[in-house]
Symmetry: C2
Subunit: 170 residues, 2 copies
DNA sequence: GTTGGAATGTCAACAAGACTGACGTATTAT
DNA sequence: ATAATACGTCAGTCTTGTTGACATTCCAAC
């Protein structure tokens, strides 16, 4: 498949054809569709969309986070996020509390109901991820993560690493 | 990392924690953002969106494809695709020709101008993919593809494989 | 202290792009 | 002849992104 070679500098050189790269591109396209398919179905039943899923995921992941914080991770405008948050708060899935130290901030947490939806969404997504991991095998999983991490923008990897470290600390 | 074990049936068993799976989920989220970032920038300059990119990509990949064919691969409604195709045809990036065998069909191809845009889009995307592949190394690349393929819906893998085979035949 | 700027968050209006439903037309298949 | 297929289009709705305007709060300079 992909041939590797060590250069004198010690850097790995890969001879990658356009065809090999295009297959990777198409794999990303089709796989991402599958990746979001199961949560999308659950969300549609509740009248929510993918934006709600993202908000719920990162609030669950980082309880008490501020709107600004969430903005940076999600990479959308605050107005766009606000619409999503407003409906989640109105429906009682997310709680918004005025910050004690800084009253401009709102600290976001999931309610019991919100946590239940988060659970059903992440269960579905984990099931698919688990299936993919088991089918591909442990070596493939390591490679999968390595390529994805190298594909991120630098700025985004900061957030990714921050989330990763959080669990490592526990 | 991910521990593997051979079961008596020969099937690989992996003990996957929720944490490991969630890291994979978050890696997909952030990586896909990077994956689309470069083309999105180019498209925005021209007043196009991601939908135009998808159409251009698969027309390039499958020259002479019909509208119905494209519909199935892209997984959108014809009304949605039509809006995109209409603008691409009006702008002279895509040519639509009545089928010779079946005059109901429209066969879609890229014009020279359309091919030029496709080139700049896929160049940008390939650059990022190449960087990720080189950073991760050849073994990682194989694993990356295996996991992604196992993550697709069955129906989508049909299209993915059809595209893959096309290049293998050449 | 007061004031002005920066930060945080909300509301309003608009656009892209997805969807459904209905309909028209040309062509092919039965 | 009639039915089914392939395609295009109009109309309307929804999600989710955008900008612009605005209120509140904090902080630092005066």
């Amino acid at each position: 498949m992909a041939q590797g070679m060590q250069s004198p500098t010690g850097q790995s050189l890969l001879f990658l054809t356009d065809e090999q790269l295009r297959k990777g591109i198409e794999a990303m396209f089709f796989a991402y569709r599958g990746f979001t398919a199961d949560p999308d179905r659950i969300l549609a039943e509740q009248g929510y969309g993918r934006a709600h899923h993202r908000a719920i995921h990162f609030i669950h992941r980082n309880p008490g986070t501020t709107v600004n914080n969430l903005l940076a991770v999600l990479g959308v405008t605050k107005q766009s996020l606000n619409r999503v948050l407003r409906s989640l708060i109105a429906d009682g899935l997310v709680a918004s509390e005025v910050g004690q130290r800084d009253k401009r901030e709102r600290h976001l947490t999931l309610t019991a109901e919100g946590a239940a939806l988060e659970r059903s969404l992440s269960d579905a997504q984990r099931d698919r991820m688990r299936h993919a991991y088991r089918t591909a095998g442990p070596d493939a999983v390591a490679g999968f993560r390595q390529v994805l991490e190298a594909m991120m923008d630098e700025e985004m990897r900061v957030f990714y690493d921050a989330l990763k470290d959080k669990t490592d600390e526990r």
